[in-house]
């Protein structure tokens, strides 16, 4: 089990660097991004598989973990907090839900019976809602600790 969590973190780190490089994350921040992404994703994995949490609260708590650590790492590597924390969240973006919602919309269009349409409409709404709520919770979770740290520094 411990090995599973470790490998989850490792692959999340690789994914964060890969997707971060599309947005030209500074090379000096790669290490920080990888570390944050690994910790965040491993937290979510642990909560979902050991504690049987739903993906939404698990992603929220994982984002809080990222937000708590990002200001310290940002100071250490001399990069703005957002340039570390946002790419670190990338592996947790619910991309699968996002395009399943689109597939649901397409299935709606080609469905022939009412039952088919209802199922496709259910797919569209279920995936779309979960996707939007996860992204919102994640950004709220990462913003709160960063703002608190910011206030502390400025007085």
């Amino acid at each position: 089990m411990f090995l599973d969590i470790l490998s989850d973190g490792l692959f999340a780190a690789v994914a964060a660097i890969g997707f971060g490089s599309i947005s030209n994350v500074p090379v000096s921040a790669f290490k920080g991004c990888a570390l944050l992404a690994a910790l965040g994703h491993a937290t979510r994995y642990t909560l979902m598989h050991l504690a049987q949490w739903n993906i939404m609260p698990a992603a929220f708590v994982a984002a809080i973990v990222v937000g708590l650590l990002a200001p310290k790492l940002g100071k250490y590597w001399n990069t703005p907090v957002e340039a570390l924390a946002f790419p670190a969240l990338l592996p947790m973006i619910p991309g699968m839900y996002a395009y399943r919602a689109v597939e649901g919309a397409l299935l709606c269009l080609i469905s022939k019976t009412e039952a088919d349409f209802n199922h496709a409409f259910y797919l569209l709404n279920n995936n779309g809602m979960i996707c939007v709520i996860i992204v919102m919770l994640m950004v709220i979770g990462v913003t709160i600790p960063i703002q608190v740290a910011h206030r502390k520094v400025n007085g």
């Binding site: 500074p26 703005p80 994640m138 950004v139």
Partner: protein, 221 residues
Amino acid sequence: MAKAFGVDVEMTILPRSVMMTVWDSSHEKSMAMNEKLPAIPLNFHLISQFSQLSWKVRDVHIGVDDAQVELENILSQPRLNAYLVTLLTGLGNASFCRLFGGDWVAMFVVFVATINGFYLKSILHKRWSWDMRLATLAAACTSSVIASVGFVLGVTATPDIALGTSVLYLIPGIPYINSVSDLISGHLLCSLSRFIQACILTACLGIGLALGILIMNIQYF
């Protein structure tokens, strides 16, 4: 930053332009600018450098001319090497496949599919200057056709995961995050604009994937 130069600044940020008004310290003279925003790709390196420059202006009080020189310096820095980015994206998406439970063969399939799709997208967008949305659609279609090799040849035990994760590198993750982050800070127009743009890109991705599945005639749904 404005205080260091002895002026007051008011800014309005809209989705495609920035309005900025600068006053002198006694509020007698003002100057307004309305700048259109070019559609440049995301660049976190640039953002960090700008942030460091703004701190320098505030704390070390370097003059306007020095700041201008440094700004030109920052703007002339190249992006990461395109081939390196392609390789890293491929590795990143392959490890994403692993996170969803794909086996090693599926990871390799996703790696190849991602590299091809990403390369195609950058060629179409940059060299042929196709629209970003069309390029995304074409890339998603290519990636899904390549990733469906698992279904056709039966080389992997998890072909559905390979096909499902092969297009995930096209999800505009940072725009989604930025959209919510704007929402929190009250920039509702920017937030909505980013969200709709990200949704359109996701829809193009979905259509491309559906097209690929249709071409290969796979029972995926």
